[in-house]
């Protein structure tokens, strides 16, 4: 461990509020390495959904990084947050671990889509990330987390540690859902072929029958994506639907994530979202 390496705290603080028929980014505070440019209104429905691309100057995470994000959606606001692209997590010095903490508050009737691009774990990478969501009853959200491993030298050197925790609670209560992993390597044998993963959590105040049908439809549709192994099921307390995806590469995982997002949006809004992506033509895979 290099004791002279300074820790690098950084913060992003965004607050969205609803004003009439618009969602306004009322507070946008950010410090290096975060970068924010303009926001976008891309969707016919919900027309007030504001899209923000969270960028960092290096687009990568290093062992000494200490990043924090705070995202707040006021009553009735709608926001779609993503990142500029898949972000490498580089090798950390022994004893060091990159940390990122995301705190999300979603007030009643608000609608959040938090869909950051996947992490790419390089050899020796060490990352501890948390996403804490405090959600009001009646709010809607979709949150995803994804990663893959990359071994450019193909010498079998993997990441050192990945800890990732997504916690969802309502109005500050006990966790309604916790998805936590803490691993130092992937599986072995046939399982080791799978190196790209994603979890998606969709929460909405919908009847359980509708959520069950969404899970069934999603599971069937995910099975049609080449190279993807995935399934959807009801989250604890029937608060929504969770999706697990695994594949040998990120492309299939991205396709499954896009499909899930589109299906959720169509269920809620009656139509697919406007494209935020480039490259993959993911709208080939739709849940009708």
């Amino acid at each position: 461990m290099n004791a002279l390496v300074p820790l690098r705290p950084a913060a992003l603080d965004l607050s969205f509020v609803r004003r009439g028929d618009r969602t306004v980014l009322e507070r946008r505070l950010f410090a290096w390495p975060f970068v924010l440019t303009r926001t976008f209104l891309l969707d016919p429905v919900p027309a007030h959904m504001r899209t923000v691309i969270i960028q960092t100057s290096s687009s990568a995470l290093h062992g000494e990084d200490r990043l924090t994000q705070r995202i707040h959606l006021g009553r009735g606001a709608a926001a779609h947050l993503t990142t500029q692209g898949a972000s490498p997590v580089h090798r950390a010095h022994p004893g060091m671990i990159a940390r990122e903490a995301v705190d999300i508050v979603v007030e009643p009737e608000a609608f959040l889509e938090y869909l950051p691009e996947p992490r790419i774990l390089f050899p020796g990478a060490a990352l501890d990330q948390t996403i804490d969501i405090d959600c009001a009853p009646g709010a809607t959200l979709i949150v995803s987390d994804a990663f893959t491993v990359h071994d450019p030298g193909r010498n079998g050197h993997g990441f050192r540690q990945l800890a990732s925790t997504v916690t969802l609670r309502f109005e500050g209560g006990a966790p309604a859902m916790i998805d936590r992993l803490d691993i130092a390597h992937l599986g072995r044998g046939r399982f080791a072929r799978y190196t790209a993963f994603s979890s998606i959590f969709m929460v909405a105040p919908l009847p359980v029958e509708i959520l069950e049908q969404l899970a069934l439809d999603l599971s069937a549709a995910l099975a049609a994506i080449p190279g993807l192994y995935g399934a959807a099921s009801l989250l604890p307390g029937n608060i929504g639907v969770g999706v697990r995806l695994a594949a040998e590469d990120l492309r299939a995982v991205r396709a499954g994530r896009e499909l899930s997002w589109i299906a959720f949006r169509r269920l809620l809004c009656g139509e697919a979202p406007a494209s935020r992506r480039t490259g993959d033509d993911l709208r080939l895979h739709r849940v009708e």
Partner: protein, 225 residues
């Protein structure tokens, strides 16, 4: 010194004939086999390793310990609610519930005092009754120590997986014994290290989660999970 009484208790509670409904659960063996991701002994050994190292050791074992050292029923229930919240897959939750409640039912019939008291709480909270928590209750009632309780919890998972593989025709009886021997070494290595007392439950078994969660989409299946 060999503890005959403890060994006999392990044999009784670790016996696959113990009437706790374990035969109804394959914990992904059936689904992965149906999806062409598991065939033969090597794959099964990898699956057992995945279950033990990436879920049992980091999730079930932690919850078992919390329930085993819990001072009262409320503390046990807190561990149970954590199990519920920390299992995003509905089918995995359902399997854990069903297996746990079946095991608890047997202990109630056998007169286990803690089991009887805890079952009274279950009717008021549908989140309660997860397998590792109930295992702690049942083994406490049986007078089994914590070290042995961990062993039983891990070993009954192993025998359930291997038994399911035999019944599904993935492996034969001789291969099953070889897989059990391999799993013994995995479990022994895991038990040799004690998790920190403040560690939070975690798991990373995406392929198993997916295989089990795809259950409702399958037309024919033998097992609940």
């Amino acid at each position: 010194m060999f503890d005959t009484e403890a060994a006999l208790a392990l044999l009784q509670y670790g016996d696959s004939a113990y009437p706790a409904g374990g035969f109804a659960f394959s914990w992904g063996v059936e689904g992965l086999s149906a999806d062409d991701l598991l065939s033969g002994q090597v794959d099964l050994d990898d699956l057992v390793f995945e279950h033990l190292a990436f879920r049992w050791n980091t999730m079930d074992r932690i919850l078992l310990r919390r329930a085993f050292i819990a001072a009262d029923l409320d503390a046990i229930a807190a561990a149970d609610r954590t199990a519920e919240a920390a299992t995003p897959s509905a089918q995995m939750r359902d399997g854990s519930h069903r297996a746990g409640r079946a095991l608890l039912g047997v202990s109630v019939r056998l007169g286990g005092s803690l089991a009887i008291a805890y079952r009274a709480m279950l009717s008021a909270d549908a989140r309660l009754g997860h397998l590792p928590v109930v295992q702690a209750i049942v083994y406490r009632d049986a007078g089994i120590g914590f070290e042995a309780a961990q062993l039983l919890s891990g070993w009954t998972l192993v025998t359930g997986l291997v038994s399911a593989a035999v019944r599904l025709g993935v492996i034969g009886h001789i291969e099953a014994q070889q897989s059990l021997a391999t799993a013994r070494h995995v479990l022994e290595a895991l038990l040799a290290e004690t998790p920190d007392s403040d560690v939070q439950p975690s798991s990373f078994t995406p392929l198993i989660d997916i295989a089990v969660s795809r259950g409702p989409s399958r037309h024919v299946r033998m097992f609940s999970t």
